[in-house]
């Protein structure tokens, strides 16, 4: 049989991507299929006790090689993990106290969150979801600005262009296409910007997931699609979303490489993400990385997790906690002494305190601002409506004052 990649029928030209895949795979001495399909097992470097797994058992192999990041990067990642965990738990508490409207926690998924931020260069972009607050904060956005949307002051509280972080997206997988567009614009200008496009396992059923992967492969743009597979889409398990052997297997259908990683292994997550970003940049092509992880808290505060999963399952995942694993690993490696540990938790505590402080002060948002950003110049109708609200507010203020005067009299 003719190889459809090397020898297509007349009028059936293959995308450039196919020859890039061919090139990449032959440079590793493997077939295109071996390159695009995920390795036989999840890439994993730390066992649940935080011990480094022997190289031959990490799941790596030709074309699937993932060098372990340098010590300073690992330490930085650990500090971000600790801060991320603290932020998740602080926000969870703030929601329970009614001081924050909603918070989709990534408790348990922090290794993915931190990896997503640390694998990128300054000129790169990230397109996060509602669950990725910790990733956005790890990228450098002020935590208070990230919480603007969860407190309910405005929809997006930070400047996406200043941080090269898209506004956290709620309509599932729509942001993946924005990632492709950003990468395509950069490519047309000759810039080597890599874009990390994030979504959850359930979201991979959405049409835009398919369209984004397909566009990225056809446009040959450096987008790393990063799926955090935490097993559930609210209540629905992955078995109801996909019959594929794994989500990483979907990559080959688009002509890109896919890989699966233990999402609770900070070392492996960083190693795979960093390599994916490197390959994307070097070869101007997309990749798909699926991280197997678990959401330890409910979907949001409005969710009742006892209806779809039992305590035992959650307990089992506790043993794979990404933070403890990394801590044990670094301590054994001699990179983490008591002083360093204290410094790291102090920094995390500071962020938590600032969140508590910010959420207990009333925001002074201006109701009239709801009219101000819709168009560069307000339409006549919006100006009239703004006038109406201003008038209503003035009257309410007047009434309140009159009421107060009445009361003091």
């Amino acid at each position: 049989m003719d190889d459809p990649i090397t020898n297509p029928e007349p009028g059936h030209q293959k995308a450039e991507q196919a020859s890039r895949i061919l090139e990449a795979s032959s440079s590793f001495g493997i077939s295109p299929e071996q390159y695009m399909l995920p390795a036989q097992q999840q890439i994993r470097m730390l066992d649940p006790e935080g011990t480094l797994i022997p190289e031959e058992e990490q799941g790596t192999g030709p074309g699937h090689e993932y060098p372990i990041p340098e010590d300073d990067v690992l330490l930085k990642a650990y500090a971000a993990l600790v801060a991320g965990r603290r932020i998740n738990d602080q926000n969870y508490a703030l929601v329970r106290q009614g001081r924050m409207a909603v918070y989709p926690s990534s408790h348990g998924q922090e290794a993915c969150q931190v990896g997503a931020a640390l694998c990128l260069g300054e000129g790169d972009w990230m397109f996060p979801t509602y669950r990725d607050s910790v990733a956005v904060i790890s990228r450098g956005v002020d935590p208070l600005d990230v919480m603007v949307s969860f407190r309910g002051d405005w929809h997006c509280g930070y400047d996406p262009k200043a941080y090269r972080v898209g506004a956290m997206s709620t309509p599932l997988t729509t942001q993946l296409l924005h990632a492709v567009g950003v990468a395509h614009a950069a490519k047309l200008r000759g810039e080597d910007t890599v874009v990390l496009a994030m979504c959850g396992d359930g979201a991979t059923s959405e049409g835009d997931f398919h369209e984004a992967l397909n566009f990225a492969a056809v446009f040959e743009v450096p987008v790393v699609f990063f799926v955090q597979n935490n097993g559930y889409a609210i209540s629905v398990p992955l078995s109801h979303q996909s019959a594929a052997p794994s989500l990483a297997h979907k990559a080959i259908g688009y002509g890109m490489a896919g890989e699966q990683v233990d999402g609770n292994d900070m070392v492996a997550v960083l190693a795979t993400l960093r390599r994916a970003v490197h390959l994307a940049r070097e070869n101007s092509m997309p990749l798909l990385l699926e991280a197997i992880t678990y959401r330890m808290q409910a979907h949001t505060n409005a969710d009742d997790e006892t209806r779809y999963r039992d305590r035992e399952e959650v307990e089992q995942w506790k043993r794979k906690d990404p933070l403890l694993r990394m801590q044990k690993f670094l301590a054994a490696k001699g990179l983490l002494d008591e002083a360093a540990e204290a410094e790291i938790s102090e920094a995390a505590e500071k962020v938590a305190a600032s969140l508590r402080q910010a959420m207990s002060t009333e925001p002074d948002e201006d109701p009239l601002e709801i009219f101000d950003h819709i168009y560069t110049e307000p339409t006549a109708q919006l100006s009239a409506q703004r006038g109406q609200l201003a008038d209503e507010l003035a009257r309410a203020h007047g009434n309140a004052q009159a009421g107060a005067e009445e009361a003091t009299r």
Partner: protein, 348 residues
């Protein structure tokens, strides 16, 4: 708008085509993409020659996926481009609605004006060309209902050029409705003159937005004294014919072309209705919960005391667009407009 000397004949389609190539010439960040827009030049040939002239980086075919086209445009606009995307037909834009409604319309507001998306979504729309199902929808109300989108729809060759240039230069997203029935209509317009007119208006513009006076500036395309007929896009030529016929019956109709549904020129509407005291609104789209309904509501709110009769609408019926052999029964035509004029209580 035409020059005094030997004016050339220009089609609506070539005015659009030239508007895009002029915009691409003027600004490197303008990129055109969609389905079949490259080698083929689009199924209506509106992008004819753009790839050849500007290269595949500036005008290119995408995979066949409308949400993908719109969503990619969002990212490209975030990253400094001015995408002009083509939806092949009105009804085939529906897969893109989530991107258009949830992101293109809302991004500026979501980010407090920090991220604006200067995207133009070109949509060939409306019927009257014998098109089969899914090729003739008048879908403007969906977009006009969505805050954050501008909705333009030219009715003349000159506006086709001027308004598309304006749309491309606008910082806000614009849904640009092209009446496909008018694509091959001609007018004595000289594109060079239109280009000069547009560019000199740009020179005098302040800030980011051009002020060429098309969008948000409805025009009286025929002056009259007895009744105002308000319309836009593909219905405008029909309305002008009806006004001519009415004149023979002794009714002097003033015809207002809205040009853009958003921004909506309420003052021009109020001016003409207060002047004539009677109004009929004409549009191809179904009348129920439509742009026409909105126009009537505004007239009622602002012109109640000037009205000598109820305001009427002549629109498509509230049905899915009919099959080609039946479309003539659905579309507002001269007779139906004249019937409406007859009902405006002239005897009182």
């Amino acid at each position: 708008m035409s020059t005094a000397t030997a004016t050339k004949t220009t089609t609506f389609a070539s005015a659009l085509n030239t508007a895009m190539s002029d915009a691409m010439e003027a600004d490197d960040s303008v990129v055109v993409f969609g389905e079949d827009v490259g080698t083929l030049g689009g199924v209506f040939r509106i992008t004819d020659g753009l790839t050849k002239r500007f290269g595949e980086n500036r005008c290119f075919d995408t995979p066949l996926a409308e949400s993908g086209i719109a969503g990619t445009a969002v990212g490209m606009a975030i990253n400094g481009m001015r995408p002009v995307i083509e939806m092949q037909f009105d009804a085939f834009a529906y897969p893109a609605l989530e991107q258009i409604f949830s992101h293109i319309a809302k991004m500026a507001n979501r980010t407090r004006g920090r991220v604006r998306l200067p995207i133009v979504i070109r949509i060939p729309y409306g019927g009257g060309v014998g098109g089969v199902e899914h090729h003739c929808d008048s879908s403007e109300a969906y977009y006009a209902h969505t805050a954050g989108l501008k909705v333009f729809t030219p009715a003349t060759v000159a506006d086709a050029y001027l308004m598309l240039r304006e749309a491309i230069d606008t910082e806000d997203p614009v849904v640009f409705f092209e009446p496909k029935k008018l694509y091959w209509s001609k007018a004595g317009e000289d594109l060079t003159a239109l280009r000069q007119q547009y560019e000199s208006s740009m020179d005098s513009a302040e800030g980011d937005s051009p002020r060429v006076g098309a969008a948000g500036n409805a025009t009286v395309v025929r002056a009259g004294t007895d009744v105002s007929i308000i319309s836009y896009g593909p219905s405008v030529p029909t309305v002008l014919k009806a006004a001519e016929a009415a004149a023979e019956d002794g009714i002097s109709a003033e015809v207002l072309d809205l040009r853009s549904v958003v921004p909506f020129d309420e003052e021009a509407l109020v001016r003409t209705v207060q002047k004539t005291g009677r109004a009929v609104v004409v549009a191809e789209a179904q009348g129920f919960v439509s742009v026409a309904s909105e126009i009537v509501a505004r007239i009622q709110e602002r012109c109640f005391h000037s009205l000598a009769s109820p305001v009427l609408r002549v629109t498509g019926f509230d049905i899915p667009y009919p099959a080609p052999k039946l479309e003539e029964h659905h579309l507002p035509d001269v007779d139906r407009i004249l019937d409406a004029l007859d009902e405006l209580q002239w005897e009182d």
